[in-house]
């Protein structure tokens, strides 16, 4: 018979799992939920930009026409030449049938970022009535990998991802009945049910959780382990130029020189690559060292099932003399075993090797990972609410209260903020003043809403806080279609009749989450009622004994 006593090693692993996961759980829940939504960043952006349809239905621009693409490059150059002739960088994305605007991004001489969108026909800045300023689904992707905090955010996410790997491995070590309890879930058993939910969601999806955490670290290997690059190269750019077998970046000469006709160079690039271009980049415009790069169209469907993605094609020119510097044929495979492995891990993490099939799979498994994290965090307090372990002496009740408050705010609070972000998208006026622009306001209000849920959970008793926030989340999900219909006149029926599957998918998924929240709320209410009647019967019994 197997001993139920824990060995010192298992005890140590158990403590590591409990406390490590408690600290990391709140942040990991954020990373998992936003990452899972992030796999659908493009459909979410599509839902959040209803005005795009009006440009698409009226524009003359044809993405399949080489002349139109060349003209669009000319329009991008004309605008950038006017606003930032001597910037650090110009970057532009050409219009397509999903996003019909010419999207510009540039850095001024001090490398401060700026962006704008131009109409594909007129080359004028898009008015607010045609372009709802929003980060769209990219907001969730940015939350997922850098918490909107740049390199610092990447490091924070990396640290917690490392803790996730530790928690997964220590969890496997301390779980003595992995195979015996493989399909076990005992409902309505209090602490036991939470433990079963935590174990089942973790064990049944373990390969995915291990893969996603490890590949997440591998994606940013050059950020997390930069020593080798700095020891051998002058800059990270020089390292990447060598790895990608592309020309090394040029140093600025500080000699003024005008940028030549980009449209003509773009046409040459398309001819050399043998396919349409999608992105253009000019480094150091206005300087004699300026280079112009064209990147070929990324065709996701053609690359289905490939983990090591080949090049989409690239051509580089001297932006002043129009001389071709480098050409990378489309389909060129990355070289070197280590680099190919890193690229495969990147594709695995980004879920871009199998269209919506793989995206849905990642969404479901990512959400199951979020369930594993949330159930673990809740289990910590369920266990201690039944019998306090007094780990912190007199401060224990305060610590437990803090854990409860953070659990509510990190789990149901984040869910409210995520669906609230879509409400903000519809309710915020199209024209908003301020340096951050409308997109910045949307993200700012997302954080403000999340902060309110933290305040709410700090002010209310824990059970009521859970119930009220779940009710709020369910209401926000189930009422979103009405807000959509009242503000922009779109709803499920129009989406379905117009075969707008992406927008319909977004709304149906949100409605499903609303219904799930109602189900959870119903269970919480039943439990609260059962506890109440149990307390009442105990009081009656006690009164009877006294009487």
């Amino acid at each position: 018979m197997q001993s139920t006593e824990k060995t010192p090693f298992r005890q140590a692993m158990s403590a590591l799992h409990t406390w490590g996961s408690l600290i990391a759980g709140w942040m990991l829940f954020v990373i998992f939920v936003t990452g899972s939504i992030g796999v659908f960043d493009e459909p979410v952006s599509h839902w959040m930009q209803p005005e795009r349809a009006s440009i698409l239905s009226t524009m003359d621009y044809d993405p399949d026409s080489a002349t139109d693409r060349q003209a669009a490059v000319g329009k991008a150059q004309a605008y950038l030449q006017q606003v930032e002739p001597n910037g650090h960088l110009w970057f532009a994305t050409l219009p397509d049938l999903e996003d019909p605007a010419i999207k510009l991004f540039w850095q001024d001489a001090d490398e401060n970022p700026h962006q704008a969108k131009l109409h594909p026909d007129s080359g004028e800045i898009l008015p607010a009535s045609m372009d709802r300023g929003t980060e769209g689904g990219h907001h969730f992707v940015h939350m997922h990998f850098e918490l909107h905090s740049g390199t610092l955010g990447i490091w924070i996410v990396g640290f917690f991802t490392l803790l996730m790997l530790v928690a997964l491995i220590s969890g496997v070590i301390i779980h003595r009945r992995i195979f015996k309890d493989f399909f076990t879930f005992r409902a309505r058993k209090g602490q036991r049910s939470w433990l079963d939910a935590h174990n089942a969601s973790g064990v049944l999806t373990l390969p995915f959780q291990l893969m996603i955490a490890f590949t997440g670290l591998a994606v940013f290997v050059s950020v997390y382990m930069p020593a080798a690059i700095f020891a051998h190269y002058n800059s990270p750019e020089a390292f990447f130029a060598e790895v990608f077998e592309r020309p090394a970046p040029r140093e600025m000469t500080h000699e003024a020189a005008p940028v030549a006709n980009l449209g003509q160079m773009f046409a040459k690039a398309e001819q050399a690559m043998g396919k349409p271009g999608q992105f253009i980049r000019v480094e150091h415009p206005g300087d004699s060292s300026a280079t112009f790069t064209v990147f070929g169209l990324f065709d996701a469907e053609a690359l289905q099932g490939r983990l090591v993605l080949p090049s989409s094609g690239m051509a580089e020119f001297d932006a002043v003399s129009s001389q071709q510097r480098h050409i990378e044929a489309p389909g060129a495979e990355p070289q070197g075993a280590a680099f190919r492995t890193q690229r495969a891990m990147r594709t695995l993490h980004f879920a871009n090797f199998g269209g919506y099939t793989v995206r849905w799979l990642y969404f479901l498994l990512g959400m199951t990972g979020a369930v594993m994290i949330a159930s673990g965090s809740i289990l910590f307090m369920v266990k201690r609410r039944q019998r306090a372990l007094n780990e912190f002496g007199n401060a224990t009740p305060r610590v437990y209260r803090t854990v409860d408050v953070l659990n509510v705010a990190a789990i149901s609070g984040l869910l409210i903020a995520c669906v609230g972000y879509l409400w903000i998208n519809r309710l915020l006026p199209l024209e908003v003043a301020g340096r951050a622009g409308r997109a910045g306001w949307e993200v700012g209000l997302f954080f403000a809403l999340w902060a309110i849920t933290l305040l709410h959970s700090a002010l209310r008793p824990v059970n009521q806080a859970w119930r009220e926030q779940l009710l709020g989340f369910a209401a926000l999900c189930l009422l979103l279609p009405f807000v959509n219909a009242f503000t922009v006149g779109e709803h499920l029926l129009t989406y379905l009749t117009e075969r707008n599957w992406r927008a319909a998918g977004v709304e149906l998924t949100i409605i499903s989450f609303g219904l799930l929240a109602l189900k959870a709320l119903q269970k919480l209410r039943r439990k609260a009622a059962a506890n109440k009647s149990q307390t009442a019967s105990v009081k009656i019994e006690q009164a009877g004994v006294r009487g």
Partner: protein, 110 residues
């Protein structure tokens, strides 16, 4: 020709996971209310293993070995979670049975 046989693989994996769960005495007893002889345990495990291998073959032959294995493992996890739900929800079992019967009837119509 099956280009993207994801649903086929999902159903094969689901059958395999259901077989594996029924090969465990406590689940077998609770669901079917009958004793599970050792021979049936091994037969169910063997059948589940064969179904999983079949699913792996089907997905790798259309998605390639690397992406095929990744998808197979992912679909296996989803199937395992669904089997767990089936074991614990009478309503879900009934709905799944009806859905399965409907699917089979459609197949006969085709």
């Amino acid at each position: 020709m099956m280009h993207y046989p994801v649903l086929t693989v999902l159903f094969l994996n689901l059958l395999a996971m259901t077989g594996l769960s029924l090969a465990m005495p406590k689940h077998h007893q609770r669901l079917l209310n009958s004793w599970l002889p050792p021979l049936r345990i091994w037969l169910l495990r063997l059948l589940a293993g064969l179904l999983m291998l079949m699913a792996l073959f089907v997905i790798c032959s259309s998605w390639g070995i690397a992406a095929g294995i990744v998808l197979w493992l992912g679909l296996l996890s989803v199937s395992a979670v669904f089997s767990l739900c089936l074991l614990n929800h009478q309503l879900l079992r009934t709905v799944s049975l009806l859905g399965g019967l409907l699917l089979v009837s459609f197949l006969f119509l085709i």
